[in-house]
């Protein structure tokens, strides 16, 4: 487009100046007009258009406006100097103009980039500030809820130890409430965005042992059976110990809650390809196949579940988020012969052997 426009202008200027050639017009006016056209072309069309316009204008000056007119011959030596000066000037200005334009556009791009980065930095600082505030808020809510719970539990336990049956119920209900508080805090931590995990070399045995110890004292904990082959090489993974412990205790809690009171809950650890798989298997009622994914939704509850089962409805949802936060997975499947299997997969360590010299 601009090529046509500027060559059009070049022709128009030539025609106009040609008509006025025999009047008072000096060669300097002609050169200035052409220079203007060349510069305009450079601005809109860049170097290629600028240089070709400069060449064309040089030819036109030589042909139409240097005596003898309408032929390519130079009357005076000064005409040759004028002509080459014009060509050099228009070429140089084209070059400088285009370079200045390029630099200006680079500077603009830099300025935009800097602005974008500083906006982002401001945003990141804002996020950090929000995360810090959230931590303070959670710590304070946690503290505010735990203080009365601690007090109620201790006093009720004291009375229960003295033989008061009502107090024993208060103790049990306080424990339930404590678990709800813990789950709600976990949930809000997970929902608040960036969730920090500490991925370290850990062993399956250490995690399972800690889970069993933590479950001690929970109703039905004696039903937990652990299946780990201690004669096989140990299973080593890359995972966050504390959060993975929460996953396992949530799964065990869930199975102890829903599986009938005399059935075992089996906890096992195996290596499956690049994963360490921890499975919690029970003989509970299970859920329909269609609900296999829904069990991980907050407050999911299968309709057949007795209303006397007191879960928080958050345990499995938290477990899934905690697994995913460290690059793992968790799935539900129906167990052969009835019941459920919840399988957590965490990353296995790259090394396969961990033997050290005696």
């Amino acid at each position: 487009m601009s090529v046509v426009l500027w060559y059009g202008l070049l022709i128009l200027a030539t025609v106009v100046m040609h008509v006025a050639r025999d009047t008072q017009q000096s060669q300097a006016h002609v050169v200035l007009v052409y220079l203007l056209v060349v510069l305009g072309g450079s601005v809109s069309g860049g170097r290629p258009l600028g240089f070709t316009l400069a060449a064309a204008a040089t030819i036109l000056v030589s042909y139409y406006f240097q005596y003898p007119f309408d032929e390519f011959s130079l009357g005076k030596p000064i005409d040759a100097i004028v002509l080459s000066a014009f060509f050099a000037t228009s070429g140089t200005t084209t070059y400088l103009l285009v370079r200045a334009q390029e630099e200006a556009s680079q500077a603009r791009a830099h300025a935009e980039e800097i602005e974008r980065l500083s906006n982002e930095a401001g945003h990141a600082a804002g996020l950090r500030e929000a995360a810090r505030f959230k931590d303070i808020l959670l710590a304070s809510v946690s503290h505010d809820l735990r203080t009365p719970l601690t007090s109620i539990k201790a006093l009720a336990q004291d009375a229960a130890d003295a033989g008061d049956a009502n107090s024993a119920i208060i103790v049990a209900q306080t424990e339930r409430l404590s678990k709800m508080v813990a789950h709600l805090l976990d949930m809000s931590r997970l929902n608040a965005g960036a969730f920090p995990v500490t991925i370290e070399l850990n062993t399956a045995e250490d995690l399972v042992g800690a889970a069993v110890l933590e479950m001690k004292g929970t109703k039905g904990a004696e039903r937990i059976r652990v299946d780990i082959d201690y004669s096989a090489p140990m299973l080593v993974g890359m995972f966050d110990f504390v959060e993975s412990l929460r996953i396992l205790t949530n799964l065990l809690d869930n199975s102890l809650l829903y599986a009938p009171g005399n059935t075992p809950v089996e906890l096992s650890a195996t290596r499956v390809g690049d994963w360490l798989q921890f499975s919690v298997a029970d003989r509970g009622p299970g859920v329909p196949t269609a609900d296999a994914e829904r069990v991980f939704e907050p407050f999911y509850r299968h309709i057949s579940t007795s209303s006397t089962v007191h879960g928080t409805g958050l345990g499995l949802a938290i477990a899934r988020s905690l697994a995913e936060a460290q690059g793992g997975q968790i799935t539900y499947s129906a167990r052969e012969g009835g019941g459920s299997v919840l399988a957590v997969r965490l990353r296995a360590a790259r090394e396969s052997s961990f033997q050290f010299e005696e």
Partner: protein, 241 residues
């Protein structure tokens, strides 16, 4: 019914700005210790530590006038009595920094009174027992370790340990029952080494457990304190539950 640990003649100081928690601690320890002293802020706590030399100190975080960490260090400058920290879940890093600053154990709120009393009694017992040092024999749950002879036995049968396993056991048994943070164990075992060796601590612990525990699923010799570290000795968690 719930059995309380044998009552001792010990004096315990509870440092907490919440009167309800102090009351709960009094109630939980009534059958365990002879006397429970109160302090509602760091200043009076330090004064009591200096004047009354309690046998054990229970420290809740979040005092109005000083951070728990600073108070823990300040107490350590005047007293060797065990410090048990009352803490909320979710803040493992707080537990770790307090243990690194000289605290001995922690109990998570809301605690079970029997577990709490058992831990307090165990810490008092631990503080009164002479340290085994490097010459004595240390025993736990059928496991016996003699550092002078460099021999370890599981139910009378010899157990072969690697040099690093010896170093870990020595570090943990320097003060049986005390929680050692991962950092403290790194420093004790790999003091002069840097780099990759340290990441294998948990692997060494697992190897060691296979040798020293009767049932590695229910460890009773080397206990994991999740996110914090390890301790040597009978698990204190929910002993009586």
């Amino acid at each position: 019914m719930v059995m309380h640990p044998t009552r001792t003649d010990a004096t315990v100081l509870v440092i907490d700005d919440e009167p309800e928690i102090r009351h709960a601690v009094h109630s939980a320890l009534r059958s365990t210790v002879a006397r429970v002293l109160d302090a509602a802020d760091a200043r009076s706590a330090l004064a009591t530590v200096k004047a009354q030399t309690p046998d054990l100190i229970i420290l809740d975080l979040g005092l109005p006038d000083q951070s728990g960490l600073d108070l823990c260090r300040a107490i350590r400058a005047h007293s060797l009595a065990p410090i048990v920290v009352l803490t909320a879940r979710h803040i493992e890093s707080d537990k770790v920094s307090l243990l690194n600053a000289g605290a001995d154990d922690y109990v998570t709120k809301p605690f079970s009174t029997s577990e709490f009393a058992a831990r307090v009694a165990a810490q008092i017992r631990r503080a009164r027992t002479a340290r085994p040092g490097t010459s004595g024999t240390v025993e736990a749950d059928g496991m016996s370790v003699n550092f002078t002879a460099r021999r370890a036995h599981r139910d009378g049968n010899p157990v072969r340990l690697t040099p690093i396993e010896w170093a870990i056991l020595r570090a943990l048994t320097a003060d049986p029952g005390r929680v050692y943070t991962h950092q403290q164990l790194f420093d004790a075992v790999w003091a002069r080494e840097f780099g990759d060796a340290r990441q294998y601590l948990r692997v060494h612990i697992t190897n060691l457990r296979r040798k020293v525990e009767r049932d590695p699923t229910h460890p009773r010799v080397i206990i994991t304190e999740p996110g914090v570290g390890y301790r040597f000795g009978i698990p204190l968690t929910q002993e009586t539950a």
